[in-house]
C-alpha cells in the first residue's frame, strides 16, 4: 500500500490554467474522493496523475517514488497506477478475458490470474463475451478487473458510475466499494455527485477552479465547510444572523453550541443543516419555545420530507428549510414552531 501525494500541482492548456497549485493527500489504502463541478479540473488532475498529461509545476509522489515533478516524468506505462475512465473504455475487439488480461505478461495470462480476477468481480460466466454484449454495470466491473490485474499501487476512477442508471448505480457502487476495501488499494475517485463522495470516501477533497478548497472526512466537510459556497454545494443549508459568543451562538432559533467560535462577542452568520431543525405544529404546543412560522411548501420523498417554512420575523420574514421524517410531513399552511438542535457552524 502506498500513499499518493500531490503538491503544488499546476497544469494548463495554452494560456488557460486548469490546475492551480493542487494539494492532495491520499493516505495509503484509503478511498479519497475528488469532488467538483464539471469543468473544475477533476479529470485533468486524474490524467496528470496517470501520466497522460505532464505537470507544469509541482510534484506527484506515489509510495516514495516521484512520478512527475515538472522536470522528470515517468510515462504512464511505467507508473504503477490503474485507471478506470468514464464509460469503462473496454477494448471493443477483445473478449472480457482478453480485456482483463491485456496488461499481463504472456505467462500470467496463461495462469489462473485472469480467472481469479473475473471471480473477484463476479463475472466469471462472461469470460468469452465481447464488450458490446455486456450491460453497463458488467462493463464497469470488467474495466475495474482490468485495472486491478497489474496490482497497481494506486487506482484512479473517473466518474465510474455516472453512466449507469440510478438503480444500477447504487448497487454497483456498493459492490465496487466493498471490493476496494478488500483489496486495500489506494484509490482516487473523481465525481460530481456529493452523495457518492460523502457516502463512499474515507476522505473528500473538493476541487474548485483548479484548487482544492478543502480536504477532510465526509463529516468534517459536511459539518464544517470552509465557506458558504462549499456548504451549499454539499447540501441544503440555513444561514442565519447570529450573535457569536465564546462557544455558543444566539440565533432566532435559540441559543446553540458553536463550532469554530470566537473569543470576543460579535455578530455574524451561522449555518444549520435542514435536518438540525425541529418542527412542531403550533396548535397544542403550550408554552414551548421556538420561532413561529407557516409551512409554505412540502416536498415529500417518502423516507423524509423537506419543508419550506416562512418564519414570522419582526424584521420581515425568512425562509427556513427543515428536513423531517416522512410521517412528520405537514400540510401546506400549517402554523408551526421551529427550534434547532446540535451545533451551529460559524461561516464568514
Amino acid at each position: 500500500m502506498s500513499r499518493l501525494l500531490v503538491s503544488g500541482l499546476w497544469k494548463g492548456y495554452g494560456e488557460q490554467p486548469v490546475l492551480r497549485g493542487v494539494e492532495l493527500d491520499v493516505p495509503a489504502g484509503s478511498l479519497t474522493s475528488v469532488l467538483g463541478l464539471s469543468g473544475c479540473g477533476k479529470t485533468t488532475l486524474l490524467r496528470v496523475i496517470a501520466g497522460f498529461e505532464r505537470a507544469e509545476r509541482g510534484e506527484i509522489d506515489l509510495g516514495g517514488q516521484t512520478l512527475d515533478d515538472g522536470r522528470t516524468y515517468l510515462p504512464p506505462e511505467r507508473r504503477s497506477v490503474g485507471y478506470v475512465p468514464q464509460e469503462g473504455a473496454l477494448f471493443p475487439h477483445l473478449t472480457v478475458e482478453g480485456n482483463v488480461g491485456f496488461g499481463l505478461s504472456r505467462s500470467e495470462r496463461r495462469s489462473d490470474t485472469v480467472a481469479e480476477l473475473l471471480e473477484m468481480v463476479g463475472i466469471s460466466a462472461l469470460a468469452g463475451r465481447l464488450p458490446h454484449e455486456l450491460s453497463g454495470g458488467e462493463q464497469q466491473r470488467v474495466a475495474l478487473a482490468r485495472a486491478l490485474a497489474r496490482r497497481p499501487q494506486a487506482l484512479l476512477l473517473d466518474e465510474p458510475f455516472s453512466a449507469l442508471d440510478a438503480t444500477l448505480r447504487a448497487h454497483v457502487r456498493e459492490e465496487v466499494h466493498s471490493l476496494l476495501r478488500e483489496q486495500g488499494v489506494t484509490t482516487v475517485l473523481v465525481t460530481h455527485d456529493q452523495e457518492e463522495a460523502l457516502s463512499l470516501a474515507d476522505s473528500v477533497a473538493v476541487l474548485r477552479d483548479g484548487e482544492i478548497v478543502q480536504q477532510g472526512t465526509p463529516a468534517e466537510l459536511y459539518e464544517r465547510p470552509a465557506d458558504e459556497r462549499l456548504a451549499r454545494f454539499l447540501g441544503a443549508v440555513n444561514v442565519l444572523d447570529a450573535t457569536l459568543l465564546d462557544g455558543s451562538a444566539e440565533t432566532p432559533l435559540g441559543r446553540l453550541a458553536l463550532r469554530g467560535g470566537t473569543a470576543a462577542s460579535r455578530s455574524g452568520l451561522v449555518m444549520l443543516r435542514p435536518e438540525q431543525l425541529d418542527v412542531r405544529p403550533a396548535e397544542g404546543a403550550n408554552g414551548e419555545k421556538g420561532l413561529s412560522g407557516r409551512v409554505e411548501l412540502c416536498r415529500y420523498y417518502g423516507h423524509d420530507a423537506l419543508l419550506h417554512i416562512r418564519a414570522d420575523q419582526p424584521n420581515g420574514s425568512e425562509l427556513l428549510l427543515a428536513r423531517v421524517h416522512g410521517e412528520g410531513a405537514l400540510p401546506v399552511g400549517t402554523r408551526v414552531l421551529v427550534s434547532a438542535h446540535g451545533a451551529a457552524t460559524a461561516i464568514d
Partner: protein, 531 residues
Amino acid sequence: MSSVAPPAPPGSVGERIAHGWSGRRRWPLVSIAGAALATAGVLVPVAFLVVQAQDSGWGALRRLLFRHSTAVLLWNSVRLTLACTLLCAALGIGAAWLVERSDVPLRRLFSVLLVLPLGIPDFVVGFGWVSIDPALHGYPAAVMIMTLSLYPLVYLPVAAAMRNLDAGLHEVARSLGQSPLQAFLKVTLRQVWPAVLGGCLLVTLGLLAEYGAFEIVQYQTFTVQIFTEFKLGFDAAAACGLSLVLVLLSVAALGGELALSGRGRAFRTGPGATRIAGRVRLRRWRWPSLAALAALVGLALGVPLGSLVYWMARGNSSTLPSTSILSATAHTAEYSAAAATIATALAVPICTLSLRHRNRLTILIERLAYLPMALPGLVVALGLVAFSVRHALSLYQSAFELIVAYAILFLPLAVVGVRSAMAQAPPGLEEVGRWLGSGPADVFRRITLPLIAPGLAAAFALVFISSATELTATLLLRPTGVDTLATQFWTYTTNFSYGAAAPYAGLMVLISAVPAYLLSRRMRAVAGGRP
C-alpha cells in the same frame, strides 16, 4: 413489426394512423419496378459472360484456363495486388496518422492535397510518368504508379476514422503497461482496422479492374490480356472465360475483407461523448515528417500534373487541339450525365426498399447493387456485348449501351450517396405527411426528395466523374467513329503523341478534381471534422 393494428372507430385519428401504417407496409410499385430493373442490369452482364464463355465448349474453356500463360497472368495479378495493397495501406495509414494525430506543419493543406490524386485517372498517372521517363516499364513501374494513384483510397477512410478516435482506449492501454508504439499497434490500429480493410479492398478491386495504366507500362495482368484477346484476337469466348477468373478474384477479395474484419467490432461500448485525443508532438521528427508528406504529394500529384503541363506547353505549338476536343468533351459530358441520371434514379428505389421496407429480399437487392464494385469495367462491357450480339444487335456499339454500362458500373457509388442521405431522413416525417393527407407520390415529392437532395447531388457527381474518366469499357462499347476525352487521349498516347494527348487529360483532371475536392471537404464535414 408484425403486430396487427388495433381496430379503431371509423373516422378517428386512430383509423388514419392505421391507414398510414398499412400504406407504409405496402411496397410501392414504382420502387419495385426500379429495383428490378437495376438488379437485372447488374445480373445480365454476368449471366451472359458465362453463356459466352462456354460458347466454344467446356473443353476449350478448360484448356484456356489451365494453360501456362494463364498461370503467369494469375501470378502477375496476385503479386501486383499484394505489393500495391500493402504499400497503399502503409502510405495511407502513415499519412492519415501524420495529418490527423500529429502536429506536423501544414496538415490542413495536406489533408486536401493527399486526396487529390483520386481525381487523376490511373492511366493519366501512367502517362505522366512514362512520358517523362520512357524506360519505366514492367512490374516495378506498375507497382509504383498504381500505389501513387490508389493510396488515397486507404488514406481517406483511415483519416476519417482517426479524426474521431476515442482517446480513452489508447490511454488505458498506456496505463496497463504498453509503450506508445505498442498501444498504437494493439489498440489504435485495431480501432481503425475496418477503415484500413475497406480501403485495401477498394485498392485491390481497382487493381484488378485497371487496364490503361498497365498497358502503358507493358505489364500483363488479366484485364490487359482479356482486352487483347477480345480487341485484337477477336476471341470473345476466351475473353469471357478469362473474365470469369477475374470476377472470381474480385469476389475472393470481397470475401477476404469479410474474413479479416473478424468478429471484433470497432464501435465504442459505452454511451456518452467520445473524448478526442490530443495531437502527438513529433518534436525532432516534425520536419522529416513534413518532408515525407511533401515527397508523397510531389510524386503522386506533382509528377503527373507537371508532365501534363509540360506536354501541353510543348504541344500547343505543334498540334493545336482541333474541334475534336470540343466534340469529345460534348460526348463525354452527354454520356456521363445520362449515366449519372440513370444510376441515381435507380439508386433511389433500391434505397427506399432496403431502408423503408427492410426484409431479406430488399437487403439482397441492395447487396446485389454493390456487386459491380467487384466487376471490372471490361467485364461489364464484355457481358453487355455478349448480350447485345445475341439478343439485341441494334444496341451493339450504340451510345445507349455505353450509357447503360456506365450506369451499371457506377451504380454502387450512386447507392452509397443516396443511402447515407436517406438513412438520415427520418421515416417519421413521411408518416406525418401521410397523416396530413398526402398520397405516396406527393409525400415523396414534397418531403423525401428535398431531404435527400444533397445525397442525390453527391451520387450524381460521383457517377459523373467516374464515367467521364472511364477508359476500358468506353474503348469497347463506344459507337463507331465517336470519341470521348478518354478514348481520344488514349489514341494519342498509344501513338506517342504526348503533346496532343495532354489537353484531353487536362480536361479530365479538371472535370474530376473539382468534385473530388468538394467531396473530401464534405467527408470532413460529415465526419464532424475538427480543424
